[in-house]
Assembly symmetry: C2
Homo-oligomer: 372 residues x 2
């Protein structure tokens, strides 16, 4: 990217910036780890909602991407991407029509299924179009959100195999409830425990259904733990690219106090707009630009400060100091690591791309608001 | 609005719908109450982020609108609206340039100020353009977020009056910390207490500065309490139009268990997409389409059910039953009152407008994402 002659200090706030050096390092590190384990990377785009970033992940070696919603897949296909896995079931007749419309443009599109009625409806729509679609069996490993329970998995797999317009390519098993367990050892133990049944299901399928070669799993919190599981064939990690304090606060393999595998590439800029009160100043980022979820946002510029952010209504945040040091005056721009990257990214229309103090361009967050 | 021949049951989910009968009733009720008290209504658009809804409020008798951010004002002016009050300070040179650019198109634009440095900067920019801008003095009444403290208010007012390019039209005093106090009597008492000092400031200004006639205050939770304050000249209420469970859970003048003054016009539609687990089903609305803040979202369709919603990650929600009654099957669409309307509206690009089961059109949420 060419320089725009623009600096971070020229940006109106609140806004999101991506530190490109950190982002590239995160992408390379995950790609190298996955390749070293002989597996594939299909990163989850629901985190960053950006087709340009997805294209960079594919450029770094990813075999495709994951999305959570049909509308996200539509936006990616429109942007020219393919090899998309939709990681949630699509169940209503109208949404299935949208999915199958998209399949015509993007034949590599895959979707997960978890219910007998759903697979019959999907097969019926595909039949009327004379099409075949690749599916993964979503196996619940204890999150209890989507997915067939392991004891019912093989029976449902048999029904999928019997349907002429579906082709079963494997399973998905996402342990979402394990990703943020603080202790690395507990996380590792819990992850292995909850994947056991899914591994049994996958071995059985692999032995009996020749097309079953995909075992899609993992999240940023268990990426290295899952790389050691021989059956897992591809990782659907998302947050590693941008990172947030929710992940920075969990332990990692070689540091039980902090997650050191990836660094925060995503930052929020916010400006002090009022300073009339003892012990606090007010900034221009609140609930609507920094999603109130996950850990505590972390002030990283000014560096090594004792400043803390707290939400202060829809449009405002409160900055206090933990050591009674001087608070920044009106007009000061602070840089924060967000608490939960996914829903915060979804509040903005673009990222500013930075290297050091320079702004080198922008990327549209073109999947923003794609919740259907 | 003409019928589109479309029904609520035709809508893909998650999506936001506005019950137009309820919305019209809310707007009329607030307008009538404000007029009956001999005051003006300048509703806050930060809640609904929609220029079409703002135009309906003005059609019902509002004298203008309030916004929280410069970018919201820009979007409204682009949509042809005027008489806009910006309820937060604008402090950086670049943001002040944007503000003054907008003032040229919309000379009725007003902004609040709360700091000596800020008024001097604003006056200096206006001087270079040869323009004068109307301002209100933001007086802090205990929220401690923005605003000058009452003991410092008159001194700051003197400095504003001395600046040739600012015209002081009055004060703003927003008691945001009082709006959601559950007990009506406590809320009333607290509201009067915290407005006392601002009233004293306003009386003094009104007596000495002939242009000072505006006292902008109030929120949905204290609207009727503030209508009884003689000095308050206009109300900047926002949530009354759409409503949410956070407001429905506070007491009102004639019902201490529930806020009965306004009804929920805003609803979120969400579909059951997975049902493999004892005691719960999964719906397609999570953090990214129903902001996790405020009260608990309330399931209102199916009517009189014992169903409860809980967040279940970025893209999913969990539906349980408080009385172990049967849970809705896959494909069922539920209708929810959102927990905190403002940040939830900001997650969507449009409202579907409904009367009964019919969809009569859509309104773009054209201020969505305007956080600067």
């Amino acid at each position: 990217m060419a320089s725009t002659g623009k600096y971070k200090s020229d940006l109106d706030t609140p806004c999101l910036v991506l530190d490109m050096n950190v982002l590239e390092q995160n992408l390379q590190k995950m790609q190298a780890a996955v390749e070293h384990a002989g597996k594939n990377l299909r990163p989850h785009v629901k985190t960053h909602k950006c087709s340009s970033l997805a294209r960079m992940q594919i450029g770094a070696g990813a075999i495709g991407v994951c999305v959570a919603k049909v509308s996200e897949a539509e936006a990616l296909v429109k942007a020219g991407l393919d090899n998309i896995l939709l990681t949630g079931p699509v169940v209503t007749p109208r949404k299935i029509e949208r999915l199958v419309d998209l399949l015509r443009t993007s034949p590599s599109l895959m979707v997960v299924v978890d219910h007998p009625g759903n697979i019959e409806l999907l097969d019926a729509v595909l039949r009327t179009r004379g099409m075949v679609m690749d599916v993964l069996l979503d196996v619940d490993v204890g999150l209890n959100r989507t997915g067939v329970r392991p004891p019912d998995a093989l029976a449902l797999a048999d029904r999928i195999v019997a349907l002429p317009h579906l082709r079963l390519l494997g399973i998905q098993a996402y342990a979402g409830h394990v990703q943020h367990i603080r202790s690395y050892d507990t996380r590792k133990h819990t992850s292995y425990q909850c994947l056991k049944e899914a591994i049994r299901v996958f071995r059985e399928l692999r032995a009996t259904v020749p097309t079953c070669t995909i075992f899609s799993a993992s999240g940023t919190g268990t990426f290295d733990i899952d790389l050691a599981v021989p059956e897992i064939s591809e990782l659907q990690v998302g947050s590693y690219a941008c990172m947030d304090t929710e992940y920075l606060e969990i332990g990692s393999a070689d540091n039980d106090a902090r997650f050191v595998s990836f660094d925060p590439a995503l930052r929020l800029l916010t400006t002090v707009i009022s300073a009339n009160h003892e012990g606090l100043v007010t900034v221009d980022a609140g609930l609507k630009s920094l999603y109130k979820d996950g850990g505590k946002p972390q002030v990283i510029v000014p560096e090594n400060s004792a400043l803390e952010y707290n939400w202060f209504g829809d449009e405002y945040g409160m900055i206090t100091s933990t050591d009674n040091s001087e608070l920044p005056p009106i007009g000061t721009v602070l840089e924060l690591v967000t608490s939960h990257c996914d829903p915060t990214v979804n509040l903005f229309d673009s990222y500013y791309l930075t290297r050091g103090k320079e702004v080198n361009g922008t990327w549209p967050i073109d999947l923003r608001g794609c919740s259907q």
